[in-house]
Symmetry: C2
Subunit: 514 residues, 2 copies
């Protein structure tokens, strides 16, 4: 960076330090979930809080504001389609947002959500929505206040909240995509439920030891391109993938002897996140040229939706396909032995392709998952705006599950109380899951249109061309473009629901004999 | 701590935060040695440096100085034999030392030792002392300067350096103990080498898989009292034990299939350190009353020598004894099977008891280890004072090995260049190893004199009374007393070499048929 002016070099240096603090916090979190002995829990909570304070101080430091100001004023840097301009634009955006929320509101939200989580846990156990309602109301009040600070009174409050997870997304635009999508998927799912013939899934429950599952999962991840010299795979109760820092991407999974594809697809999901992290331009790999982007927006993932598009693509579009099983099945037979003997790529691909209405989001299959999400999007938008009172929320939830999936919700425990998100104040987060599936389908259609040989490559275990497409079109850009711009640049079109609908129909109908 | 005055509460709060930062740094170090993927190394070095800077800032903050001043001036707190008075005394001491060394000297030392370590590595490989000498001279110059700052011109420079590792120890007092000890141990070792009959050690090289070694090591550590709900055992190249934080003590070891007692005694050594860490009064256990001491001197280990006394006691006095093998052998037979079939407690205890002159310190046995240390103590004290020029150091080294162990040193690689310590500027660190053995022997003699049933307890796998003695006499005090005071309180006598000499004679002569 020696050719840059002093204010930009200082800005990059500040960003790098802030990134290192973030890495330290990430390691504390990873360790807590993987290896920390139980006795360390109390001190760990205090360590995490202390580091969060130090991080916050660094990220709201007026000196940082001055540096961003100096760089913004320097039009030779801040104008044009360059990494530098994108970095300055995005750091301005982050800094302004961070400094807009008063410290008292941050504390009030931290306290209320901490209490609300406890209340939610108890309420869910008792299936007692009334016990959770006052806490939900409290969190909603504070979340509205936060949205007001962020939006400066402009636009729909919900937009200010989505923006945290999916920059520049708007609720009205999401609604325009989701409304027809919901109808299409609901019709598909209800049609399958009524007329489809489900394939046998017995192979998925044949016992495979965790050690064998892990060895196979590692083999698949390595074959797809996950670099274990710059990453890890460990065990946790709640799987995740964390970019701990440059050259250090850690994914986790869990193993159940009686459902080996859970861990396989869990690993492929986290691996999709991990490949994105490993592909960010941190100067560590891929022969990338140009300055390191450690801690700079161009070195960071652009949104949760784009992140989820990577995980869902590898998990579903790749991992549940026939070409994948043409390659993977002989290896599965090596790793698992006789238990797989009667399988063909066709039986495996059919067994892992599912669309069956169910009550619990985290257990939902690819066919129905988006219905769970779109229901939540509608409901949380309505309770935030006040169009729906929280008192009426459980009934609205149950109506939606009846309408879109044909299900009766027997209790709030299996209904409106199932997710922790709202107690955390996470409003605007849910839609990023379906945005991820939409982006994945649109990217998938594009990469297939550009590469007619893709199925053969996958069937031969050659995942490199697929990964290279994502490196070029998504990973290397970091936050240089908005998610919407990234999508248009990569696919030539704005995001639409057509690719996802086609993808699901093409995949699900044949498997169910329709 | 609600009954304490405001300045003491603030002091304790500051100490706790500093302790959390230390924990974070410790976790970064632990992770680097255990699970971090290689790709994370560059960023990790920067993360460590960043955290060290934040820690240093907190520990030299003038506000901390003011709080210590206010507490010192408050004689109701700072006088008498109380935890509070000890905390204030030791925090004053730490703060004064930390603020005595100018920042430029700290940087100069950091840079010189970093370069000296590289030079040492190359020089050792080439067995080329001349290539290391200029770097050793440079490090010695800066280390003398540091010692001058710390000592304010009083006393022997070496004392100011030992003080970092063994508070209040003096070179002249150590010399008074070491000089006769060296003669005694040298005579013992040379006598054994000339006249002794070595017992068979073949059992130590029978192949045992790492998984079995680990399972047995964990069983032994748990039986001795190591609490795995507040600690861990992992694998590293260079084993260590780290008190990551309250309730979180992590030890590591390594496994070689062909020498299973290496890992057993490695684990028992680190476990000794770990039991000390787990016994410090951090309010997490042992029904300790009184305020938490997290980050306060009374919650910290008092010295490296006392720390080492704990590791050496469990490794050698306990682990290599006949009563231990009366208990452990039947379990070893369960864990390892037939391969141990021909062993008796007597053959095992004899096989692990050794006094054989050798060139390399880190591979030395219990009988000869202290000779390696005492030679280094003499030499480093002489090169620091200038009584010995570094040019004459290799010859002096070789002379000492000839005199005390009867060995010819074939090359500097196996001689004066073998240890990394001096390139780090670690002068005054070596003697703590033998101080540890001296404390261990004196504690061991005392605990035996107080508990005539100890051997039977150990032979029955009841380690609780032994651990309880250390909890009461050593662990619970933290830094409340100096190492010398702690020794006198626990054993009724100042530290002397008699217990160690008797212990070694009683143990070694019978095994070697003398």
């Amino acid at each position: 960076m020696s050719t840059h002016p002093d204010h930009y070099i200082k800005l990059a240096d500040h960003a790098k330090k802030a990134s290192h603090l973030k890495s330290v916090a990430a390691l504390l979190g990873w360790d807590q979930e993987t290896y920390m002995p139980g006795g360390g829990a109390d001190a760990r909570a205090e360590q995490v809080a202390l580091m969060a304070g130090i991080q916050h101080e660094m990220l709201t430091d007026p000196k940082l504001g001055d540096l961003i100001g100096a760089c913004t004023a320097d039009t030779s840097l801040s104008q044009g389609d360059t990494q530098e301009a994108a970095n300055i634009r995005e750091m301005r955006r982050d800094y302004d947002k961070r400094t807009k929320i008063p410290a008292e509101l941050v504390s009030a939200l931290a306290e209320a959500t901490s209490r609300a989580q406890h209340a939610w846990k108890d309420a869910r156990e008792q299936s007692d929505f009334a016990a959770f309602k006052p806490w939900l109301d409290k969190v909603l009040d504070l979340t509205r206040e936060k949205a007001k600070c962020l939006s400066d009174g402009h636009g729909e409050l919900y937009d200010a909240l989505i923006d945290e997870y999916e920059p520049n997304a708007k609720a009205s635009e999401i609604e325009a995509i989701f409304t027809p999508l919901k109808k299409e998927i609901s019709d598909l799912v209800l049609n399958i439920a009524e007329n489809g013939k489900a394939p046998s899934k017995a192979v998925l429950n044949r016992p495979i030891t965790p050690a064998k599952q892990e060895a196979f999962g590692r083999f698949v991840a390595k074959s797809c391109g996950f670099d274990f010299s710059r990453g890890r795979l460990d065990i946790t109760t709640h799987p995740f993938c964390e970019g701990v820092g440059p050259g250090d991407t850690r994914m986790t999974t869990r193993y159940r002897e009686s459902s080996w594809t859970d861990s396989l697809y869990g690993i492929m999901h986290e691996m999709g996140h991990g490949l994105y992290e490993q592909g960010l331009p941190l100067g560590q790999s891929h022969g990338q040229s140009g300055p390191h982007q450690i801690g700079m927006p161009c070195g960071e993932a652009v949104s949760l939706g784009i992140h989820e598009s990577q995980s869902r693509l590898w998990e579903n579009a790749v991992g549940c396909s026939l070409p994948f099983w043409k390659w993977a099945l002989p290896h599965a037979k090596e790793f698992f032995g006789e238990v797989m003997g009667d399988q063909t790529p066709e039986t495996m691909a059919a067994a892992v392709t599912t669309a069956e209405p169910s009550l619990i989001r985290v257990e939902a299959d690819e066919g129905t998952y988006n219905l769970h999400i779109m229901i939540r999007f509608e409901l949380e938008r309505a309770i935030l705006s006040g169009d729906l009172s929280t008192a009426d929320l459980p009934a609205a939830w149950n109506d939606a599950y009846k309408t879109y999936m044909g299900l009766d919700v027997p209790s709030d425990k299996e209904g409106v109380l199932q997710d922790v998100h709202w107690s955390f104040g996470l409003i605007g987060y849910f839609p990023t899951y379906t945005l991820g599936n939409l982006y994945a389908a649109q990217f998938w259609a594009q990469v297939r249109s550009e590469n007619a040989d893709l199925d053969n490559q996958i069937a031969a275990g050659n995942f490199e061309p697929l990964l290279a497409w994502f490196r070029t079109n998504v990973h290397q850009h970091g936050r240089r473009y908005t998610p919407a711009q990234l999508c248009e640049r990569a696919t030539g079109k704005p995001l639409s629901n057509e690719p996802l609908v086609s993808y699901l129909k093409d995949k699900l109908y044949p498997v169910y004999g329709l």
